[in-house]
Symmetry: C2
Subunit: 188 residues, 2 copies
């Protein structure tokens, strides 16, 4: 388990990823932009003058995943930055006060025993790589920023993944969700 | 469950609390100072020029506490700022990489089933009030900053509480712990 990594997603006129579309799934959307830059740094980057928006999150330890589940995930998951992974999605989510008022065992029961959130993610490994960033404690408008990367041939699988998650009991607690789709040129 | 609250503890020459002593329990200590100020603000305060040290943490949702345990705590615990609570302790703690590499169920088992961390805290309510601040994801040198407040007649109970916690299996994962004791004048 590495140290927490602070990641800032900066939408604007330049960046490694081209923004294809931004859809509001629940609640307000975010402003459309041409490009997105993903900045990993130990300190918060300055607010860029020409940024359409800027969201920061930090990686952390697992919050719900059991040892059995961690081992199953680690056995098959792959990291970010694979050359063939030219599609990405950034999905910022905010959950309700009712969610955050639940005790740990209640949140776990909804997330996994009722909604199979961890098991659903496992179904799409290793094709769809994923990194979760926590932003609730950083004071931003979202609680989580999840970043996904996949090759074009896994696009249908990715649509299936997000559709299945959005139909779960856990998603009743989502009060804002924005779905940002991105592409980049293949790396040589 | 309120929104996360960012709290910064600033040790220096002025502040609401007088620093009585600073002891290193595990690892390096912190510099002695005359006074401590506790600043609650939505943004990180500027680094004070005359500060001996400054530590920030953020309150958050429960990470291990079950509904039964939350209900037992809420039924008896009291808030900070009671007029008679003229003693305080700030105990910054860092845990090892081995701790953070554990899965959620493994950390819960060590924290409560083996160490009775939640049950031990409950034994000292309502006399000893407590607020936990998370700082691992904020990039500071500690993972947690726990703040305790109590009346002078609960001083012996407080010594008992910290002694019991330090003898638990959970504490084998503590790689740095500093114990800062404070007093203030009674409020009228």
């Amino acid at each position: 388990m590495p140290q927490p990594l602070l990641v800032t997603f900066i939408a604007g006129t330049s960046g490694a990823w081209r923004v294809e579309r931004i859809d509001a799934v629940v609640g307000d959307s975010l402003t459309m932009a041409e490009a997105l830059d993903v900045v990993e740094s130990p300190n918060f980057p300055e607010r860029a003058n020409n940024a359409a928006w800027q969201l920061s999150g930090v990686t952390s330890n697992t919050r719900y995943t059991s040892r059995t589940e961690v081992d199953a995930l680690v056995a098959v998951q792959q990291g970010l930055g694979r050359p063939q992974a030219t599609r990405a999605a950034l999905i910022p989510i905010r959950k309700s006060d009712a969610w955050w008022a639940l005790a740990q065992d209640e949140r776990r029961a909804i997330l996994e025993e009722q909604s199979r959130h961890i098991a659903i993610g496992l179904d799409y490994l290793p094709g769809i790589a994923r990194r979760l960033h926590h932003s609730r404690e950083l004071g931003g408008p979202f609680d989580f920023l999840t970043w996904f990367e996949y090759a074009p041939e896994h696009s249908d699988a990715f649509e299936d993944l997000v559709l299945r998650l959005r139909q779960t009991p856990e998603w009743c607690y989502v009060t804002r969700e924005v779905d940002i789709r991105l592409t980049r040129h293949p790396r040589s």
